[in-house]
Amino acid sequence: MRPDQLLAPTPSGLCCKPGGFYIDPVRAVDRALITHGHSDHARPGHGSVLATQETLDMMRLRYGENFAGSTQAIRYGETVTLDGVTATFRPAGHVLGSAQIAVESGGLRIVASGDYKDAYDPTCAPFELVKCDVFITEATFGLPVFRHGDAAHEVAKLLHSVSVFPERAHLVGAYSLGKAQRVIALIRQAGYDKPIYLHGAMEKITYYYESRGIPLGPFLPVRGAAKTDLAGSIALCPPSALNDVWARRFPDPVTAFASGWMRVRARARQGGIQLPLVVSDHADWDGLTATIAATGASEVWVTHGQEDALVHWCQMRQLKARPLAIVGYGDEDEGATPADEATE
């Protein structure tokens, strides 16, 4: 079987015709296998959804009980057979519950990795390498200038700033699902034990992480807090809130933003950020290239991001590589800076 007979890009997303399913479809389909809970990958309205328990729970939190006709939870390492095609879920290290999906038929194995990272993250299972013939990778940070370094060092920068400016609030923009919890976990690991203030939009998901045995608290809601209480505090909010009227309640805030994009100064300056924190939920350039090499794949498909450089890199290594050009990914998580989303 040729690889593109097993899996092929369609307008609805990656389709496995022989198995009768889609992976992370961007339109409603009969049968969907979902890698993780970010809204660009996990959309509502499918007939049946197969995903990890955490991913299903996150979809339920976001879309309500009836987000799909039926659901089935699958554990890491578990395999299902669908019309003769097997699919195995493996940790992707991206956010809680995130998975790569290894699709196999007739001795051919394709791994659709969804979004992934190979860097340390105390809030989710670490990335697991799966040998394969074809590796499908994202390329959000697919340029050699993106090297994310040690996230703990970035959090140390934040805490140092809190000690230099004890009377100002430190407002940290972070994507609500995954990034925020990882930043909080790293803040806790660094020994900061005071309550952390949360924007209303990230309360539910953060408490969900805690319910899955990831201790992050104590927390206080920003809502209703007095300006004087917020002095000296650390508060987390979605990036779009940083420049919103919402942020005016904080006393002379230091605006921080935790994102892989913060590696590039122009991006940080564009967003009016004072304290860029280079913390990413996606693999950096070294992570992407090391992973591709380690999978042993002879062919690489690139789903979304900066595909030019990554495809070029593969070709230099005599690997077959092509961009899939699927429209619809990268709308959430790290796809944007807090440029112009302010609402009143």
Partner: protein, 599 residues
């Protein structure tokens, strides 16, 4: 160096002066000698070594990266030093932090993460030796003695040892492209805060000090006596004025004041004296104490007086004072050539005498100092240095008339270089800083037009949640009838309350968004009219309207006025004609010189 780089990085993003101060003081407190001294030298612009050329940096990176990947990266980042800093293939040698168990993704060992297979990119500089992060001290000391041929290999070794931010700062430093956004004065103020001292205290001892300033830090931290100044021509902190308001005049007695023209040049302090060996040491300082002698060798090297003069640096051709516009042309040139000097001869118009030889005059009243100054200047008999004339007046009305028409009130042909009048209390001592009530500046009435808000952009720092930067336009006839054409940008002049009003207007009347910029409705009967005040006007090929305003600001909000009643481009053109005919107000370039912002 990594720590210093982090400070620079943070300073680059921090807009507020007080916060910058805190960051620098924090760094100086936490960093040992001599590292912090070299850092202070870098911040005050006191470091000097031969800079590396960008071509060298390009060669280094070309030897280590694929050209296509470099091109894609450079294109994305847009800055050479930053691109190289980020993609430099440093040996995979990052120190794992204890909390994370490894920045490269070493999670709990259930399954081997692929980073085990991360190519440990070949140590770029080779030689097999482990690259160590250099300190700023290493860098400065090595660069001062390093031969040109050794620079590439040395630079590569340093880059191998540093992290991304460290590499960025090093590359900016060695190529001379470090723009820190911090004045020497600010850095000295931050150093002073290490102890119970003020910036003035530091300023007084500064001229006798050299990096890495061990004796300065020892004194600031109370471990040693105040360093003795042996500099024969030190800077004395300048006395500054307040802007006068209409309402102030009723409280002031004209008999207690003298008036002079406010010249539109550069405030300087010209100091000259002899060191222990009898050698003359002359310097020109800016009003913040930066040594600017190198930019004006024609004046600095000619100084022969013993003492400290305070005055205005101006271009004088054939006995006529030229406008700031002309001075700006000299300032714009990097190299001070003989041709430039001949074409733009500088001149000192003195208005105060702080030291006469060894004698400190600053405690005397202005009238007394002025008498000594007049005698000093006439004895000096230097064609490059003259006395700023007084403007005679006995009532405020008389002074108002003089200010409105300097040409007939004594300034004559030099009137175009007058930007207002200065009022000085006769009995005022020379007090560093900006004391209340002693010196006043009274600028000429600004030019005013009514213009329509077209685009608004978010501000920075405290203002980042407000649309506080505005592009405005006036009417111009075109093929499709009257259209608004942008004529300037302004981001101050309004009160906080007015800012809220404008911000609300922008948010409710956006027609399109471009990143942080919003296009705001601007139709004949829909939109917001600003009264815009500005200091000067000149022709400009860079602006679509062909005009550029100097120092524009929002002087009033005209919610009452429909945009159709705003001014037309012809109004501005008439103003420009008048200015060019030399009759009206200042002619000065449309730059926001720091001088304009703070004076």
């Amino acid at each position: 160096m990594n720590r210093f780089a982090e400070l620079l990085d943070r300073l680059a993003y921090e807009p507020a002066r007080n916060n910058k101060l805190r960051l620098i003081t924090d760094y100086l407190r936490a960093t040992p000698d001599p590292e912090r001294g070299w850092a202070l030298a870098a911040l005050t612009g006191a470091l000097s070594f031969r800079h590396a050329k960008p071509a060298l940096i390009r060669t280094l990176i070309a030897e280590r990266t694929d050209p296509v990947l470099f091109a894609l990266s450079y294109d994305y980042v847009g800055d050479l030093s930053e691109t190289v800093a980020l993609m430099w293939p440093a040996p995979a040698r990052r120190v794992p932090s204890p909390a994370s168990g490894g920045g490269l993704g070493r999670g709990p060992a259930t399954a081997p993460p692929p980073d085990e297979l991360r190519s440990s990119t070949s140590p770029a500089s080779g030689r097999g030796e482990e690259a160590k992060a250099p300190t700023l001290t290493d860098v400065v000391e090595t660069l001062s003695s390093l031969g040109k041929a050794e620079l590439p290999a040395q630079l590569a070794r340093w880059l191998d040892g540093l992290d991304e931010t460290g590499r960025w700062a090093l590359l900016k430093l060695v190529t001379g492209g470090l723009r820190i956004g911090v004045s020497a004065r600010l850095a000295k103020t931050a150093a002073a805060a290490l102890g119970e001292h003020t910036a003035q205290d530091v300023e007084l001892v500064w001229p006798g000090l050299a990096p890495p300033y061990l004796e300065l830090f020892a004194w600031l931290e109370g471990r040693a006596e105040r360093p003795v100044t042996t500099d024969p021509s030190p800077f004395r902190p300048a006395m500054l004025s307040h802007a006068i308001e209409e309402s102030d005049f009723s409280t002031l007695d004209p008999a207690e004041f003298t008036a002079e023209w406010k010249w539109d040049g550069i405030r300087v302090q010209a100091v000259s004296g002899r060191d222990e060996d009898g050698t003359r040491v002359s310097r020109l300082y800016s009003r913040t104490g930066e040594d600017i002698s190198k930019s004006f060798p024609d004046l600095a090297d000619a100084l022969q007086h013993d003492g400290a003069l305070d005055g205005e640096l101006l271009i004088v051709r054939d006995g006529r004072v030229q406008t700031f516009n002309v001075l700006q042309q000299r300032l714009n040139r990097k190299a001070v050539t003989a041709k430039l000097i001949a074409e733009f001869p500088v001149h000192l118009r003195a208005y105060d005498l702080l030291h006469d030889g060894e004698q400190d005059l600053r405690e005397l009243g202005f009238a007394e100092r002025r008498e000594k100054l007049a005698a000093f200047i006439s004895k000096l008999n230097d064609p490059r240095i003259d006395l700023s004339p007084l403007v005679p007046f006995d009532t405020w009305d008389a002074l108002t008339a003089a200010r409105a028409d300097p040409a007939s009130a004594g300034a004559g042909e030099d009137a175009a270089a007058v930007e207002g009048v200065m009022l000085k209390r006769r009995d005022a001592p020379y007090v560093p800083g900006r004391p209340k009530g002693l010196w006043w500046k009274w600028k000429r009435d600004p030019l005013i037009v009514d213009a329509v808000l077209m685009y608004a952009q978010r501000g920075h720092g405290k203002r980042s949640s407000y649309y506080s930067d505005y592009t405005f336009g006036v009417w111009k006839s075109g093929p499709d009838g009257d259209q608004l054409t942008p004529v300037g940008k302004a981001y101050f002049g309004f009160t906080d309350e007015e800012l809220l009003k404008i911000d609300r207007f922008v948010r409710h009347n956006t027609v399109e968004r471009f990143g942080p910029v919003r296009e705001v409705v601007h139709e004949p009967d829909q939109g917001l009219v600003f009264e815009v005040a500005f200091e000067g006007l000149q022709r400009s090929t860079r602006h679509k309207s062909g005009l550029a305003m100097r120092f524009p600001r929002i002087s009033r909000l005209r919610f009452d006025k429909p945009p159709r009643d705003a001014d037309r481009i012809e109004t501005l053109e008439r103003m420009l004609d008048r200015i060019e005919a030399g009759r009206a107000t200042t002619v000065a370039p449309a730059i926001e010189s720091p001088k304009a912002v703070v004076s």
